[in-house]
């Protein structure tokens, strides 16, 4: 005797395909979400140090929780004015070096050149109008905070990487940025 409650062949196939698509689609979405890192929270004020710790003639190197390296220093003409300049080249992410004799920042990866205020003046960053990033700073009761992207599980807490040293570069009228002494040639 024929059972009228049995689904049709077409109905069964549609239900089966839809079930598989839903089950494995959800599985795939969970996998993709697992692989994709946590979203960056933009605009978190992060504590850096006391304002008094920022020296007159040198830079304080700070690593943000997102992993970016920031140089914080005072302007020579206005010592109370603080600036935070990224030392990451906006082209492809290498670290720029200060070249004292040329009064410029130089990126060794693809020959990007920036003036002392971080403005690109030659190389691929200048072609694309990319300058070194400046981060907002604020003082609150003698404490210094920086507005940087924050990210869970990135590099942990923000931290001061390099205490100021007398041998730092001499920049005119602008914040001092850590000068690299690296001269090693990396080859394979």
């Amino acid at each position: 005797m024929e059972d009228n409650n049995l689904p049709t062949r077409r109905g069964f196939m549609i239900a089966a395909c839809a079930s598989f698509a839903a089950a494995y689609g959800t599985f795939a979405a969970f996998m993709a979400r697992f692989l994709y890192p946590a979203e960056t929270a933009v605009g978190n004020w992060t504590y850096v140090s006391t304002v008094a710790r920022i020296p007159q003639d040198d830079a304080l190197v700070f690593r943000t929780p997102g992993g970016a390296i920031v140089n914080i220093a005072r302007s020579l003409d206005q010592p109370e004015r603080l600036m935070a300049l990224s030392s990451t080249c906006p082209h492809l992410g290498c670290q720029v070096h200060w070249e004292g004799h040329n009064q410029r920042f130089f990126c060794p990866c693809h020959n990007g050149i920036f003036d002392p205020t971080g403005k690109a003046i030659a190389g691929p960053p200048a072609d694309a109008g990319q300058s070194l990033l400046q981060y907002p700073l604020k003082e609150d009761g003698g404490l210094l905070f920086i507005d940087v992207p924050n990210e869970e599980l990135a590099m942990g807490q923000g931290e001061i990487l390099d205490a100021p040293s007398p041998a730092a570069c001499k920049l005119p009228q602008v914040p001092r940025v850590r000068s690299s002494t690296a001269s090693s040639r990396v080859s394979v």
Partner: protein, 351 residues
């Protein structure tokens, strides 16, 4: 006795097996440069074996990766040799893939009906280069760190999806604690599995379509009896491949012993070295990135890769619609000269 026991459990007919493995091979394959396709396959097997052994000691984290590579190189018994073979086999594999692709290109072996296999080959080229890139990222020396940073930011420069890919690669906004394990998984699991799949498809298509047949002057009939146009895969061609495999093992051992891979300075996220160069096979891209702004360089490189992928169809269109039937040869010569020129340029200058 054992034969019949096995026959019952593995009902394989030896005659069928012989026929399957003994396909006649065209005469032109006696030339060594037609064996360049088998060379990277052989080297890939070497890479799997040496890679598995290196993974026994390698620790994929920013804190321990460099030290574990140092241990492999300086302390583990024959570690220096296995790392050397892995490194040199990678270099030779890239070179062999490029030479094989050039041979296929200049002999027009990508033309109808072999367009799809050319595209599979292009996927294998990209896989090979990505294996090289992720491989040297694992050492966690300065080149590893900055190479990974630049590579991820190149991906980030792709319009629309770039930022998504960059964050997926790095596991965050910048190089962080999640990055190295990702590169290790990609290098040691994802890419090798992809490569095995592509090799099976590549060889499968070759077997289905047969090898392109060429006839060179000295293959042509020059005597009273016409020469056979094919020879046996077994044992003739197998002997060629075995000779090649033996030569490669000797060469790899020589290179690993005389020119062992060294360890550069450990990764320093604060300092990009004054002079930094990627592996030789990325010199052309590295120089290109110095010549143009980021987006222009990335888009133009993407365009070149797209043209290479679809070349069989572009070539067919040129041959059909114009009288420049051999345009591919001149375009190929120009392309090779441009790549060699940019590579030499990058090799001889500091910046």
């Amino acid at each position: 006795m054992i034969g019949s026991w096995l026959q019952e459990r593995l009902p394989i007919q030896l005659d069928e097996l012989k026929e399957l493995t003994n396909e006649p091979v065209p005469n032109h394959l006696k030339r060594w440069w037609f064996a360049l396709g088998g060379t990277p396959a052989y080297l890939f097997v070497i890479q799997i074996i040496t890679g598995l052994l290196l993974a026994v000691y390698y620790r994929p984290s920013a804190e321990s990766a460099y030290e574990s590579v140092r241990y492999i190189t300086e302390s583990a018994t024959f570690g220096w040799y296995l790392r050397g073979v892995h490194r040199w086999a990678a270099t030779l594999m890239v070179a062999a893939v490029i030479l094989h692709q050039m041979r296929v290109y200049f002999t027009g072996a990508y033309r109808k009906p072999r367009e799809l296999n050319w595209m599979v080959g292009m996927c294998m080229l990209i896989c090979t280069l990505t294996l090289g890139f992720t491989g040297y990222s694992l050492v966690y020396e300065q080149l590893s760190y900055w190479g990974a940073t630049v590579g991820a930011n190149i991906a980030g420069g792709v319009p629309v999806v770039g930022d998504f890919i960059r964050r997926l690669m790095l596991g965050g906004d910048a190089y962080n604690v999640n990055t190295l394990p990702r590169f290790f998984v990609i290098h040691a699991a994802v890419l090798p599995m992809t490569m095995i799949f592509l090799i099976v498809v590549h060889i499968g298509i070759i077997r289905l379509q047969g090898v392109t047949e060429y006839e060179f002057e000295d293959d042509k009939d020059d005597g009273p009896e016409e020469k056979a146009k094919t020879f046996n895969f077994f044992p003739d061609h197998l002997l060629t491949e075995l000779s090649l495999g033996l030569s490669l093992m000797v060469l790899l051992s020589f290179l690993a012993t005389v020119f062992p891979p060294l360890l550069g300075p450990p990764a320093d996220p604060l300092t990009t070295p004054e002079v930094i160069k990627p592996e030789w096979f990325f010199y052309v891209a590295f120089r290109w990135l110095k010549l143009f702004s980021g987006t222009a360089a990335i888009l133009s490189m993407g365009f070149v890769v797209f043209v290479m992928f679809t070349w069989p169809f572009i070539d067919a269109s040129i041959r059909k619609r114009t009288r420049f039937t051999e345009a591919s040869v001149w375009i190929g010569i120009f392309g090779v000269l441009a790549i060699v020129g940019l590579t030499i340029w990058e090799a001889v200058v500091a910046h």
